[in-house]
Symmetry: C2
């Protein structure tokens, strides 16, 4: 029996995307690889799961020595299906991506790529989401592969804290111009949405979501700073959404409210 | 001109659900109410947004003196549409729910109801998500209304910290049996998924996601403890997913990795 680690690969751009193919190639160097990924693009699906309809799974052929399963579900569905139904043993590592486009800062919360990694963390499995700051379907993943090739064996060997996954973003630069990796926190930035209102041929209005990304944080310890300054950003990411800093003030706020 | 606060009401069970109708009734007591909610159930949509297709908005009639807009989007889309396109002024408060079913503990991350509240927090608007521990479509919302009636005016008057929203869950009990409200943190609990594998009339396999909820935390400061002991749980919730506790250890982990 093989003693190689079992690595589950998923993404949100769909199983045929260039990014996941690059990630599979790196993962294969360090373990037995199983791919369970969406059969279609599932970007911006956040932590959505499929509870009111059914899920399909289809085995397809993508890489030699890799079992690839394409599902009708979201990225989080893919992780749940893999871990709880499709795989015989728990993976040693889940890697998600390489996403076509940034998942830095607030994008982590909208991202299917990162939600898959967060779901793995919920299931107690070390996980890393990789994203390249280039939305193009034919983006150049060489630098991303270089850093995945450093991070994957390191995480397999050293581990990361239970319940934490890593949000890794790679700037759109050649490897030679990337200064290194920086551990940092999620920048306080946001999309200022603009809806593009149009009229269809039947005279009805509809909307496209668009927007500008605005960074409200100036410090040098954020993922946006790192990426802007030529570093790969690594944000340890968790699923506890409690604002622990507000517990005390909220306790005070609700003292005696509604007391009889 | 009215000086009443503007309250945006949304949910994930759809604009016709009993829960949102109850929430609208309470909100109307404290402000001018605009409803922007999904035209169909959007449970478990997490923080999904619609970026690869279009959004429709339709004005419908639900309550006297209430402008109600039904959209084809997710709960997060509804908040984005309302704040950035449909409303002339920023709401003073966003309330989401009342959800038919618990959003305590890890459910916060899958919940459309709570993702709408989190999105409002991202946009800098005070927000509260309400959920009743009863999935029935004809659930009894009397106790939920009682507590919404305490919490809404209190939050409007006193405010909550910027970037924080409240995850309020109400036990399935009559008001007289509820002991009060408890500020607490998200319990470390999880779904142990079981997939129900079936075969369709054409001989193809498909899956239904099911599972058992398991609480790993025994302390009396969690939302699950509060609900189990007859309290309404209030968890201050944030959108920063950084594991700040892991920054130092991750810094150590990645020191010298890939240094040339």
């Amino acid at each position: 029996m093989s003693k190689k680690p079992l690595i589950l690969v998923t993404n949100d751009d769909g199983v045929t995307a260039k990014g996941i193919n690059n990630l599979i190639e790196v993962a294969q160097k360090y373990g037995d690889v199983v791919v369970v990924a969406p059969d279609k693009p599932q970007s911006a699906m956040g932590h959505a799961i499929t509870i009111n309809s059914i899920l399909h799974v289809k085995e397809i052929s993508t890489h030699e020595n890799v079992r690839t399963l394409s599902t009708s579900g979201t990225p989080v569905d893919c992780v749940k299906l893999a871990v709880n139904e499709l795989l015989d043993v728990k993976p040693d590592l889940v890697v998600s991506g390489i996403n076509h486009g940034s998942n830095a800062s607030i994008n982590v919360i909208y991202s299917g790529t990162m939600s898959a990694a967060v779901e793995a963390a919920i299931e107690g499995i070390p996980a890393v989401g990789f994203s390249l700051l280039d939305y193009a379907h034919d983006a150049d993943f060489e630098a991303s592969k270089h850093f995945a090739d450093l991070i994957i064996p390191h995480v397999l060997e050293k581990g990361i804290p239970t319940g934490v996954c890593l949000n890794v973003n790679i700037p759109k630069l050649p490897v030679s111009e990337i200064k290194g990796m920086k551990v940092c926190h999620q920048a306080n930035a946001n999309w200022e949405e603009k809806f593009d209102k149009r009229t269809n041929p039947h005279g009805q209005n509809y909307y496209w979501l668009t927007g500008d990304f605005v960074n409200y944080e100036v410090g040098n310890d954020t993922d946006l700073w790192a990426l802007d300054h030529g570093y790969v950003s690594i944000v340890p990411t968790q699923f506890d959404m409690t604002s622990h800093a507000s517990i005390e003030s909220m306790n005070k706020l609700f003292t005696n409210v509604g007391k009889r």
